[in-house]
Subunit: 135 residues, 2 copies
């Protein structure tokens, strides 16, 4: 295999949350995470056309505080869990630190969505949003 | 909001598929897509540690043939579906063209996984793999 190109990701918006750092964030949204704002940059707001309150969406974030050189972790940070490849976990530490968050749209105010619950910390870049489909 | 940094994504591997171009690919894996190989570069193979045949995983691809300037589409390419923001769809055309694929691991041969079904075409870069969790 020849070594591939790398690709440039441009954030489409940001998470604004009461969670200010990783240590206070729950591991998953369903584990007591708060609601948060998703602020979309004006040039991408057409991409939200027809999004409605009550919709379930998948928010994909760039976990900018993650360590990209990590390939194995103790799942959920519990030392007694055996070392496991990051690709079989939801660890934020991984070569391309993408976060996947299934959330509900609670409010829409122009380029600002209120969504939740979500464990992403304040200032986390958002890179994509997708419809939920049956899989 | 100040304009954010962009981020560099480095593929961790590639899809090898009998699907050679977008026009022959089904829209979702469950719509008649084939199985495919996922070839991981040697430097990332530790990230697969403990992955087993039968596991369900989420493969995240970079849809390198997508058009990144598209913000609205007719969902599923059907003209009678009203124009909709790409963030409420699974269109491959979107600012950061990430593909989300929930697949089953069918075979493991060192750095090559056989996975499926998956609608990604041959040569699609893989950028992340995650555990499926109840959400």
């Amino acid at each position: 295999m020849t070594k591939p190109d790398s690709y440039q990701i441009q954030p489409i918006g940001f998470i604004r949350s009461s969670l200010k750092n990783r240590s206070e964030a729950p591991r998953q949204g369903a584990e007591g995470a708060p609601n948060a704002f998703l602020d979309i940059f004006p040039e991408y707001s057409d991409g939200l056309d027809r999004v409605a309150v009550g919709d379930e969406i998948i928010v994909i974030t760039w976990l900018h505080r993650a360590r990209r050189e990590v390939l194995k972790v103790h799942p959920r940070g519990v030392g007694s869990n055996p070392l496991t490849g990051v690709f079989l976990t939801r660890s934020p530490d991984r070569p391309n630190p993408l976060g996947l968050h299934r959330v509900k749209v609670l409010e829409i105010d122009q380029g600002r969505l209120t969504i939740g619950p979500i464990e992403a910390i304040d200032g986390t870049p958002v890179i994509d949003i997708k419809a939920v489909i049956a899989e």
